[in-house]
């Protein structure tokens, strides 16, 4: 069992130059712009990785981009720091996710979210991190993610997170 079950005719692949990424439209211009002009450049530079969901006609039905980052804990009171070190700790970031307007409402968004978290979990078996951060492009995106009860990163209303225990529990139970 290698991942989320996709509806028949769909497949998930790493983003490649040959895919028609410029035709992708999820109705959100920043998300579109990311896939049209930046995702591939960033992937080439190894700054992030993007996977696309291809429909039967090989149009891009959806995509998500994962990246790594860190959260600085340099100001923690020292008595707490016995458990976790007082330095920057690594996090996984679900930076972008979108479903093409033509396929919205088919639950593909949830499937892509599930697969991206699964990717994080699997990567975490090799390269550890303390949480997954979900970047929300706007209020709609945030309410879409919040359906899964993810908490806000303190002070950052457009970033949600789940800690790695929660991620692991979701894969276990």
């Amino acid at each position: 069992m290698s991942g989320v079950v996709l509806p028949p005719g769909f497949s998930l692949e790493p983003l490649q130059r040959t895919q028609p990424r410029r035709h992708f439209d999820c109705g959100q211009s920043e998300v579109n712009d990311w896939l049209h002009t930046k995702a591939l450049q960033h992937q080439d530079k190894r700054l992030s990785a993007t996977k696309v969901l291809l429909a039967g006609d090989s149009a891009i039905a959806g995509f998500y981009t994962l990246a790594t980052g860190q959260v600085d804990f340099g100001d923690l009171p020292s008595e707490l720091a016995r458990k976790l070190p007082r330095r920057a700790l690594p996090v996984a970031i679900l930076a972008w996710l979108g479903v093409s307007v033509a396929h919205q409402g088919e639950k593909l968004g949830d499937l892509l979210l599930a697969q991206s978290l699964r990717d994080c979990y699997e990567a975490g078996q090799t390269f550890a991190f303390v949480a997954v951060i979900l970047d929300c492009v706007d209020d709609r995106a945030k309410s879409f993610y919040q359906r899964w009860d993810f908490a806000e990163l303190p002070g950052n209303p457009y970033r949600l997170f789940l800690n790695s225990q929660t991620l692991a529990a979701m894969m276990r139970s």
Binding site: D72, F73, P154, N156, M170
Partner: protein
């Protein structure tokens, strides 16, 4: 002065008049290429978002974008256009989604090396693309350099202890008022403590100050009040950025706005300026958190903003100490899945 960019470009383009062959080359080879590969992001229709560069008018091509002209007159290959389309600069490569084909590159290279001929166009000032009028904006008082101001004429030079007093006395006289007699020590302490902390002095502080008749007693008092973290220091750092933010965002008078926006904290406006770098850090840091500058500055100081911006460059998320603590605690929290999270987990594990 707003037209200087366009003027420069015009001077550059106007010498030798293009030959018919050059113009034909532009129309048949260059223009279609620009339409095909560049107009999506750089046209009158696509707007100024992408470097304020407009490539669907000759005037726009001549004017260049926010980085200036696309052409280098003496050394054509050093011009910005050829730099970016040849992908020589790792940070700015156009088109962003893939280099032009060799044949396409050759067309633009030939055109640029041959003087980048353009059809005739009206020598208009560079179209104003940005909603912000930067030239006008820079005239705002807080962006003016400090200048020495001549001291006003006054009636009673004896009264003046330091140059600033001259202005006070001049204004008083203008309103036909005379200065009050000097305050006694108790009054002085009370006024200064109220001014700098918003609170009255304690009886102990009063006794100590009245008893202290050394020459530096007032200076020491001011230093102590300024250093007081809970009151003045905190107030100042929050208000400074708040005032700045309000003014920066709206380009309006601090005074007028601040009375509206800080009705809860009744304080006299503090005319404190921030340097350009601090301002930029604040707006950038607020942007990183995707909250408004005024929301951001309500809780966070300039130093924190600077850290956040610097860190974003290496993909580090910076939180204030309180936020770190809250997040750290959330990271320790045991994994108690909500019903929704259990459902998502099932999808992750490949159930339908």
């Amino acid at each position: 002065m707003a037209t200087s960019l366009a003027d420069e470009a015009l001077v550059q383009r106007s010498d030798p008049k293009p030959t018919p062959e050059q113009l034909e080359f532009f129309e048949t080879q260059v223009r279609p290429l620009l339409v095909k590969r560049c107009h999506k992001c750089h046209s009158t229709e696509s707007g100024p978002e992408n470097g304020s560069l407009i490539l669907d008018t000759a005037a726009g091509i001549a004017a260049g974008g926010s980085r200036g002209s696309m052409f280098h007159k003496e050394m054509p290959d050093k011009g910005l256009l050829l730099q970016v389309i040849t992908y020589r600069d790792a940070d700015l490569q156009m088109p962003p989604d893939g280099k032009l084909a060799a044949a396409e590159l050759a067309i633009l290279e030939r055109w640029v090396r041959d003087g980048a001929a353009l059809p005739e166009y009206k020598a208009e000032p560079r179209p104003k693309l940005s909603k912000v009028d930067w030239v006008e904006g820079r005239k705002f008082w807080s962006f003016q350099p400090l200048r020495p101001t001549p001291l006003p004429m006054i009636s009673d030079p004896q009264w003046v202890a330091r140059p600033l007093d001259t202005f006070v006395l001049a204004k008083l006289s203008a309103h036909k008022l005379t200065p009050n007699p000097p305050a006694d020590r108790a009054q002085l302490l009370r006024r200064m403590t109220f001014d700098l902390t918003g609170l009255p002095p304690t009886p102990d502080e009063l006794d100590a100050f009245v008893a202290d008749n050394s020459a530096q007693s007032v200076e020491r008092l001011v230093d102590r009040l300024l250093a007081s973290h809970k009151t003045y220091g905190r107030l100042l750092s929050t208000l400074t950025v708040l005032h700045y933010a309000i003014q920066f965002r709206r380009g309006e008078s601090i005074m007028a706005k601040c009375t509206n926006e800080t009705t809860t904290s009744k304080v006299s406006p503090l005319m404190v300026r921030l340097d350009a770098e601090s301002k930029r850090s604040l707006t950038d840091a607020a942007e990183l958190r995707r909250i408004s500058v005024s929301d951001y500055v309500r809780t966070v100081t300039v130093a924190q903003a600077r850290r956040e911006v610097a860190s974003a460059r290496d993909q580090t998320i910076q939180l204030s100490p309180d936020e770190q603590l809250a997040f750290w605690q959330a990271l320790q929290a045991s994994a108690k899945l909500s019903p929704a999270q259990k459902r998502l987990g099932a999808i992750m594990r490949g159930q339908r």
